[in-house]
Amino acid sequence: MMRHLILMIAHWTNPFFLWYFTSINVIYTVFMIIGAFGILSRRKELAAEDLTELLSSESMPEFTFVIPVYNESENVLNTIFNLLNLTYRYKKLVIINDGSIDKTFDILLKSLELIKIPQYFENRLPTQKIRAVYQSKLHPEIIVLDKDHGGKFDAQNAGVNALRSEYFISVDADTFIEDAGFEALIRPILTSPETIAVGAGVRIVNSCTIEYHRITTARFPQKFLPAFQEIEYLRSFMLRQGLSSINGVFVIAGAFGVFSRHLILQVGGYCNSVSEDMEIIIRLHHYMKKFRLPYKIEYLPDPVAWTIGPSTLKSLGKQRSSWHFGILESLWHHKRLFFNPFYGFFGLFIFPFAVICEAFEPVVECIAWIYVLITLSLGLLNVHFLLLLLMVSFGYTIIYAIFCLLLEELSFRRYPSMRNLLALLGSNLVENIGYRQITVYWRLRGFWRFFKEIGRIRKESKRLNKLY
């Protein structure tokens, strides 16, 4: 009876799993090809671009770095000095101490010689109480806000209130930025006025050499976990490149992104979400489409920011499950976009792609493996199906990553040594066994958390829907 039932289920499930993974692969391939064109044309631009001219300009707009910090006593100074060392002249830093309970604020106070100044700005976005505003005596371009703890989104909102420039750059406290990359990043804003947000490639800094708060030698991570993350970053960057070409980027890494202040204020600031970086991008799409305004959200292929990747399973697991929880939360907040023709291509294709291929992918993958294990234990496994599934999912992932590597080689060549390239290839082959399965588990934990917090998420959704 059981055997009969399983065979009946298999009749439907085998083609479903194959169909699902093949469809994802086809979509990824399309984005990969579109992205490759984008990258190669960017490569041509780079050869003709004169960034020294940009730097010597007298008329450049001011950019403010908004850096929320919470218990970041180890990294905060490195990040601040890295940003101060950028050759771009018209920059300011707004650091928001989000009620840290370690020595973060004391370190800032002593190292930057902070002096209390009056609160010179209005709280246009509601935030937790601002305890005091400080300015650095050593580097007057640094403003520090000391506030009660309210989460990253709250700190970012406080930062948006405090800045005066038209554009701001949201940076994590463990992110390093490169000069050349940064200059390339601001160009889309200068050259195409309809650009409302810009993101760029983020890489893993773990094995790079940092001297005087700058990355002097870029190296592929030497340990397994950061190496696997680096490959994931490369792959996701390719996807975003493709999405950028059709103005469909739905996430800009929280570690680094440029935004228009005026628009962030208009859409009501960052919301109470774990993945506020993704939510704000979807909200910007939602808002601009709703009011039929021309806009562009760009994702530059240039590697700009380097971030510290978690190096233990525990911290990585925590990060991945909260990322996935954030994806689900953001998609839930904007569920009315799902297959909604009013929102054009974004509503009809990009948003459903995010839901079906990004959010539900771990569920389908997990069910597929459970199904394989059950049929194997009952001696009913269809070997042909298993091999096909492995080729469709694992085989494709390997090819995809090698293609990303080729594009990296053709464009930016951030890993010039042959050893780094071989390490990248090796990690690409190994990551499918063990690492891939554990990430599925972490992402499923994100689902668990989502269902646990659904009440709060619904409330936040209602609040967001009333904003515009």
Partner: protein, 339 residues
Amino acid sequence: MNKYQILIWIFIAEAVLSFFLITMVALHRLFYFFVHRISNQRKKRLSGYFFKCIEENRAFDAKSYPGRRRWTKELLEVLESFNDRFHGNEWEAIKRPVAEEYLLPTARKWARSIFWKKRNQAARSFVLCPTIEDEKNILRLMDDRTFLVHHKATIAAIELESQAGIRKALVAIRCKAGSSRVFYRDALIGASHAAAEKMIAAGNEPALRLACLDVLSGKSWALPIPFLKTDLRSKNTALRRLAIRTLVRNPVADCIEILIDALKDQDEEVRCDAAKGLQIYSPLANLDCLIEALHDPSWFVRIEAARALKLAGATGKALLKKQTDSQAVEAVRYIEVFG
């Protein structure tokens, strides 16, 4: 073909594709190495020749020139890097004939190319050696869709002191939203005296006034600006802001009175800029207006006023010490620390 044969074929296809991609990576490494090396060698030869010409103070001579006609890209890059470092007649005597002989004929052809890279090289060549003959081409390239083309063409037009080009640049500053206009502004700020005169003449047109003032607020200009005083009294806030910034940069005889009046303007930015302007003249100005500005609703105006008083010398400093109002005291303290 049975289903296992299909599987084997898929496996072979994936393996071949992976191998192909890896081979491409390796081949690109090799290709990059050689192309880079050849290009560097060419540039080295050209740079050596130009250095020798400069050292020996001799003009360009086609017979001793080591380059070939097809080295356009390398020649353009070398000339651009020299042009950044060398100015004056000696360098012009070398650059012009080289550009006319080896760059401009190709540039004239490429100005109409369908490939933006070629149009970009054409525009860059025109920047190096703009000629009246090429004005039409330059003006057409100014309308190009690609930023890297129209930006360079604008610089060429301004180098050429072309009236139509300067007007086009002002129109672009006026019409282009966002920050894209900063490149045009920069190009006009760096313009020659003759080009600036043409720009001011074009600024007499009311539609181009804002753009013209925007440029002048970043440029030092020794001669009187005809429309400045009218614009300082304009009802248009944007115009007043730019006019006051231009005045601070390019003072006129009665500018102290104008700046004192501007301290009472409705707009915060105008008041702030007026206070900044008074920092230059504060020893000569009546300090009462600055004391009044210490109580301004805007924190930024208060700070600039306090700074102006500090720069006024002993009298100003004494006045700062006398302040008792909390807002003024805050501004005074801020200036004591941050200067």
